[in-house]
């Protein structure tokens, strides 16, 4: 019995293919269930997100199981099996475990360090467990994988700094203004990135959102989407006095906000700090504004600079994360190599002893006629039989403990003698602290609140609507699948092939 994983991801397959093969966690679990008992597949977990669909299998004949899984998946998605095989990767044994750990640690994600994959993996595992698709090995493996993901998130800074323009902007706003609840945002003009930034801000608890545009209708549209208020650009003056954060992306060829005007605004605001984001090209806000006290102005280049710095940091942290994955891989192998042997033997003994005791109880009355010595002899006889029977298997198990596939025997023993006892449903309950696994660090200070990323699968709408906007800053966010991946080029071509 061996472990194998086969699947496609953003690294090997284009969006169209991934779309066809995406499954919800219930569908994925049912799909996995259908694979069981075919071609000797004993355990399965199917992980499906918009960036990957992977099938983990524990089977006798891994090649056959792989072929089966790929075939069924192709059928399910209505794609050509050969095309799927060409775009799929597969790993077995150690490599499969390493792959799972890397996925859980977000090292294989489109945006390294993203927070969602861990929760998605947990859902996939729980759904599979609920459908009865997992047993000893996968229960241990996937729980360990979730632990690894959690460990990487807490011990490295891999997910700490934001790597998209809008989340960098929000992070900087927090650096200046502190907690963002009850702050007001003023949006000038409209655009994809402004909207995205507003959403991030709202996730941080921002209060009022006001949208100002030359045409009231456009303002109202965006305001409606963001649950804000729409005003005409004439009211700019008063709105500026109220706004703690200003996002500007109009198509105006000149400055909407120049230094003298901003100075007046600051005086009227009694120098309450203001955070200004200028994502328009040409710029809407006079760069001289940065020299005004309590004014903080960032244009698209500045934000991009921060994104680059943060990306670099993520990459460094990724190296650290890889080391953690290697360590955990070794631990996992140790377990697989038979740390479970000893408890299994103990369980076996106690199970068989239980049978012996039960039988002696059953005879109960009929043994009363015996003398104490005879009783003792009966006890001894039954004990001795039990010991002799178990002797050889015990010795063999201990010898096998040193070998790599001891878990096969351990698993067999557990099943044959029904040593586990616990029902699958109970085994599937993961503790409540898995909230943390989704990327929240358990620290009081708000500086480490989770990055407010929109779901990695903000789908084709983002692609479609931002297509022809004149403002170059906007179109950067348009990448099919994950807004956060805006400026990272996806790896070209499949880098792993089905073995």
């Amino acid at each position: 019995m061996h472990l194998v994983v086969v699947g496609i991801s953003h690294k090997t397959a284009a969006l169209e293919l991934r779309e066809r093969l995406a499954l919800s966690s219930e569908e994925a679990a049912r799909f996995g269930r259908a694979l069981l008992d075919d071609q000797g597949v004993a355990e399965t977990v199917v992980l499906s997100t918009c960036n990957r669909t992977e099938i983990y299998l524990f089977a006798d004949d891994t090649l056959a199981a792989e072929r089966l899984a790929v075939g069924r998946l192709a059928e399910r998605g209505g794609v050509d099996a050969a095309a799927l095989r060409a775009a799929a990767y597969s790993h077995s044994g150690d490599a499969a475990i390493a792959h799972l750990f890397r996925v859980a640690s977000s090292l294989d994600s489109m945006v390294v360090g993203e927070a969602q994959i861990l929760a998605q993996l947990k859902d996939a595992y729980q759904a599979a467990c609920g459908e009865g698709c997992t047993s000893t090995v996968f229960n241990k493996l996937f729980r360990h994988a979730l632990e690894v993901g959690k460990r990487v998130r807490t011990e490295t800074a891999i997910g700490e700094r934001p790597v998209s323009i809008s989340s960098v902007a929000v992070d900087l706003a927090r650096q200046v203004l502190g907690k963002l609840d009850r702050r007001s945002v003023l949006v000038l003009g409209a655009g994809e990135m402004s909207e995205l930034t507003v959403r991030h801000l709202q996730a941080q608890g921002v209060g009022r959102v006001v949208v100002a545009n030359r045409t009231l209708e456009t303002a109202e549209e965006l305001a409606r989407r963001c649950e804000g208020q729409a005003v005409c650009l004439d009211e700019l003056g008063e709105q500026l006095e109220q706004a703690d954060i200003v996002i500007s992306s109009t198509s105006s060829p000149g400055f909407i906000l120049d230094r003298p005007r901003m100075e007046t605004v600051m005086r009227r605001r009694r120098h309450e700090p203001v955070f200004l984001i200028d994502i328009a090209v040409p710029r809407d806000i006079d760069p001289e504004v940065i020299h005004i006290d309590e004014c903080y102005l960032y244009d698209i280049d500045d934000l991009q600079g921060v994104v680059d710095v943060n990306r670099g940091e993520r990459e460094r942290e990724a190296a650290h994360a890889e080391r953690i994955v290697d360590q955990e891989l070794a631990r996992m192998n140790e377990w697989l190599a038979g740390l479970e042997v000893v408890p299994t033997i103990a369980l076996l003994r106690s199970s068989v002893d239980g049978i012996r005791e039960a039988e002696l109880q059953r005879l109960g009355a009929r043994l009363d006629g015996l003398t104490p010595e005879q009783r003792a002899q009966v006890e001894q006889l039954t004990s001795s039989i039990v010991n002799k029977i178990l002797h050889l298997p015990t010795v063999r198990m201990k010898e096998l403990a040193a070998e790599k596939d001891a878990y096969v025997y351990v698993d067999a023993l557990r099943r044959l003698f029904d040593l586990d006892g616990a029902t699958p449903a109970a085994a599937c309950d993961l503790e409540g602290d898995w909230r943390e696994a989704a990327g929240e660090r358990a620290v009081a200070e708000r500086r480490l609140a989770p990055e407010p990323e929109p779901p990695a699968c903000a789908p084709a709408e983002a692609a479609a609507s931002a297509g022809t906007r004149g403002v170059s800053g906007e179109s950067d966010e348009v990448v099919a699948g994950a807004p956060d991946d805006a400026l990272r080029q996806p790896a070209a071509g499949p880098d792993r092939r089905a073995s």
């Binding site: 011990e155 800074a157 700490e160 700094r161 992070d171 900087l172 927090r174 650096q175 200046v176 203004l177 502190g178 907690k179 005086r267 605001r269 009694r270 120098h271 309450e272 700090p273 940065i290 020299h291 006290d293 309590e294 903080y296 960032y298 500045d302 600079g305 921060v306 710095v309 943060n310 940091e313 620290v443 009081a444 200070e445 500086r447 480490l448």
Partner: protein, 275 residues
């Protein structure tokens, strides 16, 4: 006893230094354990410093505030106490980063000014003098923290304005938090400073010190008071917050430090406690 004192003094210094290093490490790596170890070092160091002061008190027979060594050591003790309280209340991580360097420097200065306990001049053996010293020290402790926060504020603000955002920047508290800290610390310290000045004036009057109002220490203290009071007033009246209030907080601290480091040893006629 003197020997023991030296030992505890240096042990607490080393612990403070270790605490500072761990807090720095925490700032860089953000691993919670480093923060706890750092805090632990500082707390242990503070307890040892309390022992040092207790020993000195026993040795000298009076509250250890006479002479540069004693007063600076007591001051740093008060500063660390204020810092620990603020750390617990505000939960601003790595607050110690602003405070510990000042403490370490002041302790080093105290050491260079080490002298055996002096006999207290009879003029100074009075309750009101004790009150005066205690409240002044509390005020100064609060202002050291305010000054530290102000300094970090100014550095952070400059980096944010320059738009060069390194990874370390993200680990500092927000500008607003620092600004509020400066505000709270200044507000906290002002009543103590006022009480201290008034107590001192009362004492000077009752003791018949002539022309106390021309003494450098008094002038600097009043100047500092005016700066801090002005800071609070301008904040409310004209919206002088952030950068401007940070500079004022630093200016006030400079005055207070000048009292201890310049006025008392060189310029004051009566504001000396030993000899």
């Amino acid at each position: 006893m003197e020997h023991a004192q030296v030992v505890t003094f240096w042990l607490s210094f080393l612990l403070y230094a270790a605490g500072f290093v761990y807090l720095l490490y925490f700032l860089i790596t953000k691993r919670e354990t480093q923060n706890r170890i750092g805090l632990g070092c500082v707390i242990t160091g503070w307890l040892l410093q309390t022992t040092t002061l207790a020993l000195r008190w026993a040795q000298a027979g009076h509250v250890p505030v006479v002479g540069a060594y004693e007063s600076i050591t007591t001051l740093t003790w008060a500063v660390v106490a204020v810092y620990l309280v603020l750390e617990w209340r505000t939960r601003i991580k790595a607050l110690g980063l602003y405070v510990m360097p000042a403490v370490l420097v002041l302790l080093a200065v105290a050491w260079t000014a080490y002298s055996p306990p002096a006999v207290l001049r009879p003029a100074l053996k009075s309750d009101i003098v004790v009150i005066h010293v205690i409240v002044i020290f509390t005020a100064v402790a609060a202002y050291v923290v305010a000054g530290g926060a102000a300094l970090i504020y100014l550095i952070e603000e400059r980096e944010l304005k320059r738009r060069k955002i390194g990874p370390v920047l993200g680990r500092l508290p927000s500008l607003r938090t620092l600004d509020q800290l400066v505000n709270h610390a200044v507000m906290f310290g002002l009543p103590f400073l006022s009480m201290g000045i008034v107590a001192g004036i009362i004492r000077a009057e009752t003791f018949g010190v002539g022309h106390w109002w021309t003494d450098a220490v008094v002038l600097l203290a009043v100047l500092a008071w005016a700066i801090y009071a002005g800071l609070l007033y301008l904040r409310h009246a004209s919206g002088w917050r952030g950068r401007r209030s940070a500079w004022l907080a630093l200016a006030g601290l400079v005055c207070l430090l000048a009292i201890r480091l310049v006025a008392v040893p060189y310029l004051s006629n009566f504001h000396v406690w030993g000899r």
